[in-house]
Amino acid sequence: MRLAANSLSGPVEDVAGQAGHREHPPRMGFFTDTSVCIGCKACEVACKEWNEVPEDGLNLLGMSMDNTGSLGASSWRHVAFIEQPRRLARHDAGIAGLPVGPSGTEATAGIVESALRRAPRGGGELGTSPYEPGHVPAVPLADGPERTDFRWLMMSDVCKHCTHAACLDVCPTGALVRTEFGTVVVQQDICNGCGYCVSACPFGVIDRRPGDGRAHKCTLCYDRLRGGLEPACAKACPTSSIQYGELDALHERARGRLEALRASGVAEARLYGEDATDGVGGCGAFFLLLDEPAVYGLPSTPVVASRDLPAMWKAAGVAALGLLAAALSAFMEPRER
């Protein structure tokens, strides 16, 4: 058997082909344009209705209008809400001239953060299990300069369907597979809940569902795609913030959109996950962001750990030989009395 080039990292021309699919459809994906997201969360609900994903907790999180918190085993779409005392290009928030004091965003975010510190798995179960922040110590509103501007960023996050998907690489049962559309899905009849994919994902997307025991994440509505339908979230999205289609076409559209936004003064606009040379070989679901990725809870420079797998095995080999040598030498000493 021969392995194709860039099996573990780097750009891949034909992801489905690399997974053995022949005569497959073009690679399909999502382009999520956060600049037109209205934060309605239709994507979250449409996803749950179609995929019969269970409710994951009726808790007020205090993260602006976000009460989902993060992607998880029971939240395959997650709309992030970020309030910032900053300006968004030519957008005018109408703060100027009002009798305002310092912004409250730092203090409120601090309260949420300190509550998360107490949460199970450090808040990592948001999107998977209920979590009630309860009462947390108040953070006094800081003194500081008057706020002069405001913007409210919203972004519907989703599984990235990486070109080099760490979850897929590490899955020991073959439950995770690359489909003919180039997407990555969990075969629920196979997954035995080993949890390896959870630790492997550099985006914190996939998780194990308590009570069910298996790993769950966005399937990019594989079943719908098989029937020629578009994913439920993209179909519902009122403002076409979530766009579904052939990845190449989406890339082109995204670049056009980026140029238009930059031309209109949104200098911070950037694409995230579209670069085939990044640490995961580019994503099947990519985004147009209006701030740095970390602000949205995304990793700045995601890397598929398997990229370094050969080196790791090499180190392990050396260590193993070392162990063998140590054992040998332990017995090579002259026999004691």
Binding site: V36, I38, G39, C40, K41, A42, E44, V45, K48, E49, P54, E55, D56, G57, L58, N59, L60, G62, S64, M65, N67, T68, E83, P85, R90, H91, D92, A93, G94, I95, A96, G97, L98, P99, V100, G101, P102, S103, G104, T105, A107, T108, I111, V112, A115, P133, H135, V136, A138, V139, L141, R147, F150, R151, W152, L153, M154, P238, T239, S240
Partner: protein, 870 residues
């Protein structure tokens, strides 16, 4: 303005986003920065309830900068009409118009009328308060004797008594500085709105206004919308594509339930209910609906009414018996839902039906609602799920305070499970007047039934019970035509819709439209504006042909009343000569060769009436409409910058403070709308007006709105896990500044207090709320969503408990978008301690039942606006 469209109507908002993409400037004027604001070009804050001042400021700006679209305004509006010399403006009477009657706390509108050519000047207009009041005009143009002319006009718009000059003078003091002082909107921000709005005017450009209940739920709600209409008329933005005023209505068929009303003051098609005064016979009634000498299609109201009576009473309606007119009940004044609830509390109402409605949560003054429910003989609740209005005997907050004791509450409650929208066929009328037919997907389960089933069979049973009673009062029930087609035991909605569309009684043919209706009893029609929905014998509402480049209005998708016209008054989309104002904004136009109006939309004008047509002076009704009278339902064919009739509170909109306001009216001595309806009763206290002192007790402005993730009173969202998890708790949004002032903690508890109630919520501190400077003082605003109640997956106090009952005088809608309140950290007290807390607040504020109900800012003891019940 007055709409949080991205949150309340996300799918509709796609068109706004698309317009923005194409270069439109999108502005959101709202007390709070919302998800709508985040996507607009400009968010402009203002104090809740100060909108008329804001919009009046825009009117002023238009005049100051000479931005009136004269080519449109002069021919299409009543700008050039000369008004009676007895008319006196609020500028001269410090907030009142001429005709004020202190005793009736209402206006005599005779001085607001147009002057006519020739003898007599104005025509006398009967105007007692209960006659031809705003609430009985519905969406039609009100009656106007002499609308067909000849009205004195000054086409140069220079005459000091022409509407144009009166309007200009009326708003002359609504300068940007005044707007800043009243609304708290900084001058610079306000001017940005003016500049952007007025630039979208003229032949090439238009602007559209979107509003929702942020405008209607005020004691000056109708006038608020009129102010926007005035701006849009002045800018030439009515009747044109990309123009207009768009009401974003909140319920699947709330438009339909107004067209085919379940409203006390209306019959189908905006025909008024007969009143004690107009109800002596059909002729008297019709004379009150339409004037003899007026223009437009309302002149034919006799045909609409007789056809309705023919549908109601079938064979039993004949010319001999006035078509059964005498069988109709008569109203006398206010029978609105709030009046009825007070009557329930007072033991005057025996039985109450709640049909998909949850007033214990969704109506203002929840406590009053629940006390009303607890004092009935019986209550019928029909809903998908158990709601607070059915279970009040077990979970009302008044049980904790001891005000409702289950073992002493006599109300017998029947809960009937309802069929869902997938389980019955029928039509909804959406917010653009479009009827869309739904097919039945599955059968309902168990006892679940449609309202159609329920009322059809209830009617059948009642008719059977009275069939032989011999009692004269049962005659209308016996006469009632009730032979709708039934399959199994299921009445057929499509048959009902056919009867609504109407038949030619002689031939049995379904009518093609309302122009075929006759006043001689040869046609029947359940709702004249819906006539045509079965044109050609086809259910037009069930059409599903998508739009296309050739058919941008998708004219074969659904059916829009009237006559499938998508843009009302679209004659105004063409210039007086009948040419499109611009090619880009072409909608309908006059085709000289064919001699008819054509275009992308169905012309809202008589098809073959040329633009140059001048109606003969003695013509009436549609015949009196000239070629440049686009507003074919109006009694004078014109867009009304001034409303000489039809409104309770004045011919021009005027800024009055909300019923509860932290500040005095900076424009007039008159504090609040003098004609607003107030109900001074011990169980309906109001927070004091500034002139009454104690403003420190309720220093903040309270306003409410929807969240995307919930639906109104919550029965259709709080019960669903997928929606509940997205907004799981009642919260109160406050600015960092108010949080600091009141020691409120993010995610902590706070309680909000008015003279009616104290409710608790989790605090959300956010920059999206910001204080304003109003009249040199800082005013804080508090926002809450109103979806929560005692039941469901997620629960919370009912926000509407905070509000009292004070109503718009025209439409009797309550003011729940602006009130005053206090907010304190921590949870509210429970049980009797809660009652004590409220009593302490009322004592501190010196509140009696009369507080806040004074007509004007003069000390109490003068005129009262309290509804005087006999």
């Amino acid at each position: 303005m007055g709409s949080n469209m991205a949150e309340a109507h996300p799918v509709g908002f796609q068109w706004v986003m698309e317009a923005k993409e194409k270069g439109a400037t999108v502005i959101h004027v709202d007390p709070r920065f919302t998800r709508t604001s985040a996507l607009c070009d400009l968010h402009v804050p203002l104090r809740a309830g100060s909108d008329i001042c804001f919009l009046g400021g825009v009117v002023n700006y238009i005049f100051e900068h000479d931005l009136v679209f004269r080519d449109y305004v002069a021919p299409y509006t009543n700008a050039s009409f000369i008004v009676n010399e007895d008319f006196t403006d609020t500028e001269d009477l410090d907030g009142l118009f001429s005709g004020w009657d202190e005793r009736r706390t209402g206006y005599d509108r005779s001085s607001w009328q147009y002057e006519h050519e020739g003898e007599g000047g104005t025509l006398a207009e009967p105007s007692t308060r209960e006659h031809a009041t705003g609430h009985s005009c519905g969406a039609s143009g009100p009656r106007l004797e002499g609308g067909s002319g000849p009205i004195r006009r000054d086409p140069t718009l220079e005459h000091p008594r022409c509407v144009y000059q009166l309007l200009k003078r009326h708003f002359a003091r609504y300068r940007p500085e005044m707007v800043a002082e009243v609304c708290g909107t900084p001058v610079e921000q306000f001017l940005k709105v003016c500049a952007a709005w007025t630039s979208a005017s003229g032949r090439e450009r238009t602007a559209a206004v979107v509003y929702a209940v942020g405008w209607t739920q005020h004691t000056s709600g109708a006038q608020l919308i009129r102010t926007a209409a005035i701006i849009q008329l002045l800018l030439g933005n009515i009747g044109r594509p990309g123009g207009g005023i768009m009401a974003m209505r909140g319920h699947a068929s709330i438009q339909g339930s107004t067209d085919i009303p379940t409203l006390f003051n209306l019959l189908p098609g905006y025909l008024p209910m007969p009143t004690a005064e107009t109800g002596s016979d059909l002729a008297t009634y019709l004379a009150a609906v339409k004037a003899d000498r007026q223009k437009g299609f309302w002149r034919l109201a006799d045909a609409y009414m007789v056809s309705l009576l023919k549908e109601y009473f079938g064979e039993r309606a004949s010319a001999e018996n006035d078509f059964g007119f005498d069988w109709l009940p008569r109203t006398s004044g206010d029978h609105g839902t709030y009046r009825s609830v007070m009557d329930m509390v007072d033991g005057k109402v025996s039985g109450y039906f709640l049909l998909g409605q949850n007033p214990a949560v969704g109506s203002a003054h929840g406590r009053l609602q629940r006390l009303g429910l607890a004092n009935l003989d019986w209550l019928v609740v029909r809903d998908l799920t158990m709601i607070e209005s059915a279970t009040f005997f077990g979970d009302a907050p008044e049980i904790a305070t001891g005000e409702i004791v289950p073992s002493r509450c006599k109300t017998e409650v029947f809960f009937f499970p309802a069929a869902a929208h997938t389980e019955k066929e029928g039509s909804f009328t959406q917010t653009q007047r479009m009827l869309q037919w739904r097919d039945k997907a599955v059968a309902p389960k168990g006892d679940q039934r449609s309202e159609l089933w329920f009322f059809y069979h209830l009617g059948r049973k009642i008719k059977a019970l009275v069939a032989d009673s011999g009692d004269e009062r049962d005659e209308p029930l016996r006469a009632l035509w009730w032979d709708y087609a039934v399959v199994g035991d299921e009445p057929q909605a499509e048959d009902v819709l056919r009867r609504i569309n109407g038949y030619d009684e002689r031939s049995g043919r379904l009518l093609d439209g309302y122009v075929e209706l006759k006043a001689d009893g040869t046609t029947s029609c359940g709702c004249w504006i819906y006539s045509g929905v079965f044109a050609g014998g086809i259910n037009q509402a069930a059409r599903r042909t998508p739009g296309s480049a050739k058919d941008p209005y998708a004219l074969a998708w659904g059916w829009v009343w009237p006559a499938n016209r998508r843009i009302l008054y679209n004659r105004a989309a063409a210039d007086p000569d009948g040419r499109p104002w611009s090619q880009a904004k072409a909608c309908v136009w006059w085709d000289e060769e064919r001699g008819e109006w054509i275009g992308h939309d169905v012309p809202d004008f008589e098809k073959s009436k040329a633009p140059s047509y001048v109606a003969p002076p003695d013509a009436v009704g549609p015949d009196a409409l000239s070629g440049d009278d686009p507003f074919i339902m109006q009694a004078d064919g014109k867009g009304w910058l001034m409303a000489p009739n039809g409104l309770e509170d004045g011919p021009f909109p005027t800024h009055y403070e909300p019923h509860e306001s932290p500040v005095a009216n900076a424009l007039y001595a008159q504090q609040a709308n003098p004609t607003r309806r107030v109900y001074p009763r011990p169980d309906n206290p109001s927070n004091p007006a500034p002139s009454e002192g104690h403003r420190e007790v309720f220093p903040f402005v309270l306003t409410t709105a929807r969240l995307t993730e919930h639906h109104t009173a919550g029965a259709m969202s709080r019960t669903l896990p997928y929606l509940s998890e997205l907004q799981p708790a009642l919260c109160v949004e406050v600015s960092p500044e108010l949080a600091r002032l009141r020691d409120l903690e993010h995610l902590g508890w706070a309680h909000v207090i008015t003279s009616r109630a104290a409710i608790e919520a989790r605090v959300v501190v956010t920059d999206r709320m910001a204080p304003l400077v109003v009249q040199r003082e800082v005013v804080h605003q508090v926002w809450m969503p109103y979806h929560f109640g005692a039941r469901g997956l997620v629960t919370g106090d009912a926000v509407n408990d905070l509000f009292g009952v004070a109503l718009d005088p025209n439409v009797f809608i309550q003011e729940t978008k602006a009130a005053t309140c206090d907010i304190r950290p921590g949870r509210r007290p429970r049980g009797p301690q809660l009652s004590e807390l409220l009593a302490r607040y009322r004592a501190r504020a010196g509140i009696s039942s009369e507080t806040g109900t004074a007509r004007d800012a003069t000390p109490p003891g003068g005129g009262r606006d309290g509804e005087q019940e006999a």
